[in-house]
Amino acid sequence: MTEPRYTPLRARHEALGASFTDFGGWQMPVRYTSDLAEHHAVREAAGIFDISHMAEFTVRGADAAAYLDYSLAGRLSAMTVGKAKYSLLLAEDGGIIDDVIVYRLGDDDFLIISNAGNRDAVREALLARTDGFDVETVDVSDDYALIAVQGPAAEQILTEVAGIGEVSIPWAEQKYYAWADATWNGKPLLLARTGYTGEDGFELLVAAADAESLWDAVLSAGESKGLVPCGLASRDTLRLEAGMPLYGHELNREIKPAQAGLGRVVVTDKERFVGQGAVTPAEGAPVLVGLQAEGRRAGRAGYAVVDAEGATLGEITSGALSPTLGHPIAMAFVDPSSAEEGTAVFLDVRGTKIPATVTALPFYRRKK
């Protein structure tokens, strides 16, 4: 057992009375007061999350774009400077090593943010793919803290944080899946309009040493606007409602992108890329669907999806009683024959069969 890791914001979480949980070897706040209240705050106002456990890699060099086209599933060379893009790191056999967001900081300068639990696997894969490219990939995870501010009030709150200066693009003009430069008390701050909640919001990348002062300033600016600190429990129900996959649940080494509905992320007509020729799922491979049920009893990860006779059709990967919608929702891998929207199935909830319906993802979409 390795020592649990803590982010630079540990003392803040403890002072706020957070309960902690293990997440990929990190001790992270699971909730501060109530996970439902935190969930609703993000949907209705705003929430602030410490996601400093996530891993960051810089990719720099004359061949950086070509290297990423080879190393990742997408065509990152086609992305303009200032943009961000969701992508996948595939294994040679087409399985998913991680899902990542790539930010193009300059022509030859990219930032990759990956999941905390996959940091070592991502680093290994990225470093193993540099042969023949003029590129330098560096794991800079320990240098940075990452703070997410999510919810309809996020933009307004951040504009009022004294100490954030020199914003390179006016707040209102910053686009979703794009980033802007700024400073935090004179030091570099990256503002990315990305998130994992289904709401508008930002992810703030700042030097680890400056995390506490930025956290305090955002909390204080947001207090009067309904901003609350949010833990991983609400982050999970928020992303589930938004139909966003979580690595280890909807994505893993055995799953090919198209099975998880991520076929569009893979650009197959690239000259070459890792996983090429292996990305097509086997005939009849299970596919990811949304499920909704009535009542209040949720199907959970690992529970079977069955037909009226009790024969297994698939397995739930994530499930909860949706705080926003008020009924149970789940994502599950099921046999393609049961994947069509509207298909009636049952969830085996500890021996009780709960009727459920295959539903389009996401379950929740914010009003624009």
Binding site: S34, D35, L36, H39, R296, R297
Partner: protein, 125 residues
């Protein structure tokens, strides 16, 4: 406010209050906090016979499911429909409004349960 020192406790984080031959059972604030916001509670039917340690119901939070274990043996004589209708009571009032079941018990049914000091030794240990 309930005087918590008058209650008995199980290692599974249920509390028991005895009045005559009827034991009232709920879960502790520690258990409610550990579960997170409770969103679903299932309770047994009145008349159910329970042995000590039997699963008598379930409490679900957004994150997890927890089975409820009978800390005493006996017959269920009343269940608290209020917490089925509003499971958040388990978080807001675990020792009062969110009692779960009342069980008709025999003499000595509470033998072997922990007192407050014994229980806090578990939760703070």
């Amino acid at each position: 406010m309930t005087d918590l020192t008058t209650l008995k406790y199980s290692e599974e984080h249920e509390w028991v209050a005895l009045e005559g031959s009827v034991a009232t059972v709920g879960i502790t604030d520690y258990a409610a906090d550990a579960l997170g916001d409770i969103v679903f509670v299932e309770l047994p039917a009145v008349g159910t016979e329970l042995s000590s340690g039997d699963v008598f119901g379930e409490a679900e939070s957004t994150k997890s499911v927890s089975e409820l274990y009978a800390p005493v043996a006996g017959t269920v004589v009343e269940v608290n429909q209020a917490i089925v209708d509003d499971p958040s009571l388990v978080n807001s009032s675990p020792f009062e409004d969110a009692w779960m079941i009342k069980v008709e018990v025999a003499d000595g049914a509470l033998d072997g349960l922990l007192d407050r000091d014994g229980y806090t030794a578990i939760t703070e240990g």
